[in-house]
């Protein structure tokens, strides 16, 4: 019973991996935005990244 389940499960995992690879899945967390104005190309400063307030590492050991 478990063997059948595992076979089915394994093929499902492989199928998902193959589908994900074909569809270009990745583990990176990327923020998606829609309808960014075309004016950004002429005026890049009109767009501000959501990551703009990142607190930078300034240390060392």
């Amino acid at each position: 019973m478990f063997r059948k389940f595992y076979l089915l499960y394994g093929f499902l995992v492989l199928g998902t991996a193959a589908f994900g690879q074909y569809r270009g899945w990745s583990l990176a967390t990327i923020n998606q935005l829609k309808n960014v104005p075309k004016s950004v190309r002429d005026n890049p400063g009109s767009y501000r990244s959501v990551y703009g307030f990142y607190h930078h590492y300034t240390g060392g050991k």
Binding site: R3, A17, S26, A28, I30, P44, Y54, H56, T58
Partner: protein, 441 residues
């Protein structure tokens, strides 16, 4: 036959024979129609010769405890695995291991056409036992019976310390027999040596609920305690077979990875080196790259950044923007590299390059908006941006590998712990298998 008691199978209807104990005069009921060798008086605990018309007294024993009570009362009838049986005898046996006495119970079942079989019960674990029809072949490590190999489990001396009802042999209280058990779950093969006579029996594990249903006993059976020697594993699976399947899946996964890696276009679409100059960037640091085209099906985009930072940092706010749809993928990447020397010696941390794979980007015309932020101590720094279309994302394979591995590890662990519990009660406990094999010196 009392009302409500199911009749035994086949004609004619058997009748129990009633006699009296020659010692105390109590009524003795013989249910086995001449098949019993001995019968025990429930009143005075005299063991009587059932073959003797006068029921000659063979032995009388003192009952040591009053709470020895069969879970299935004598005279109870039931259908066990399709055959009607009546409980005609009961005995309690014991063995001593490391100074601890273990008790178990055996029931003698009778059917006038099928003969005798037995049930044994230990801590809520039951076995349906019958005498072997052919002689098993035993050697040092195990035994073979009807083509099946049984592993040696335990050898011990069994003591009979309480008997009740009828027995198809000359039973005696205090009788000691050398018993050896061999297991092949759910079966157990047992040899019992009494004087020079060896009896082999084969038992099959039964759950208490099956016994209760067979004999229509009231209440619930006692809960099984621990793992019994021939108890079937709840992990009803060939663990080695599952590992083989896992290896096959892993090979398949590697083939999939190689196939997609070969198939991936890995097409460079942008390669630029920019210079951040603080003096030039006072008003607005952000800028956009040239437009590049992504072709084909929806796929990944890899953005590689390199900056020769040394005890500094640079942070790049990226936005990959589709110039036609206005859809944007916004992400930030930091490059920092620090090194030095302290009382522990030299140290370093961080890196001068970075890679990110952006998922599921449709085809179209794109550009990057880049907004650099740089360590205030740095007046200027160059950095290189490489954009590659359709690259394999290996993290997916890592997740798939773990997803394939986890159920196998869980099932193997469950099987291992169950078998460990089983064999810890044997003459071959797991600890003994791993210790004593080497010289500590």
């Amino acid at each position: 036959m009392s009302a409500g008691t199911p009749p035994l199978s086949g004609p004619p209807k058997p009748q129990a024979k009633a006699l009296n104990c020659p010692k105390c005069g109590a009524a003795i009921v013989l249910r086995s129609f001449g098949q019993a060798e001995t019968v025990v008086c429930a009143s005075c605990h005299s063991i009587l010769d059932a073959k003797d018309p006068n029921l000659a007294i063979l032995q009388q024993f003192e009952i040591k405890t009053s709470d020895i009570k069969p879970l299935i009362p004598l005279g109870t009838r039931g259908k066990l695995r399709g055959t009607d049986y009546e409980v005609i005898g009961f005995q309690r046996r014991s063995t001593q291991v490391d100074g601890i006495t273990y008790y178990w119970h055996e029931y003698v079942l009778f059917n006038p056409y099928k003969g005798i079989r037995y049930l044994s019960e230990y801590n809520g674990h039951w076995n349906d036992i019958s005498i072997c029809k052919t002689l098993p072949v035993a050697d040092f490590g195990g035994a073979n019976y009807l083509g099946e190999t049984y592993k040696h489990f335990q050898s011990a001396e069994a003591d009979t310390d309480f008997v009740l009802g009828e027995f198809p042999w000359q039973v005696r209280v205090g009788e000691k027999a050398a018993v050896t058990d061999y297991v092949h779950p759910p079966r157990v093969l047992s040899s019992e040596k009494l004087d020079k006579e060896v009896t082999w029996s084969i038992g099959e594990y039964m759950y208490g609920r099956e016994i209760w249903d067979s004999f229509k006993l009231p209440g619930a059976p006692p809960e099984p305690m621990g793992v019994y020697e021939n108890q079937p594993s709840p992990v009803a699976v060939n663990v080695n077979g599952i590992w083989v399947t896992f290896i096959a899946f892993t090979v398949f996964l590697l083939a999939l990875m190689a196939g997609f890696d070969m198939r991936a276009k890995k097409q460079p679409v942008l390669h630029e080196t920019y210079l951040y100059n603080r003096a030039d960037s006072k008003n607005e640091a952000s800028f956009v790259t040239n437009i590049f085209e992504l072709t084909g099906h929806i796929s990944t985009v890899e953005v590689k950044t390199y900056a020769p930072v040394s005890n500094h940092w640079i942070y790049l706010n990226y936005a990959l923007i589709n110039q036609d749809t206005g859809q944007a993928w916004d992400f930030g990447r930091e490059l920092s590299y620090y090194y030095g020397y302290d009382s522990d010696g030299s140290w370093s941390e961080g890196k001068q390059n970075d890679v990110v794979v952006i998922p599921s980007i449709p085809s179209g015309y794109y550009y990057l908006r880049i907004e650099p932020e740089v360590d205030p101590a740095l007046p200027s720094i160059p950095y290189t941006v490489d954009v590659t279309h359709d690259v394999p994302a290996f993290g997916i394979y890592g997740i798939a590998f773990v997803a394939l591995l986890v159920p196998v590890v869980i099932i193997s662990f469950r099987a291992y712990t169950f078998e460990r519990s089983r064999w810890s009660e044997s003459d071959h406990p797991p600890m003994q298998l791993t210790s004593g094999s080497g010289d500590d010196e």
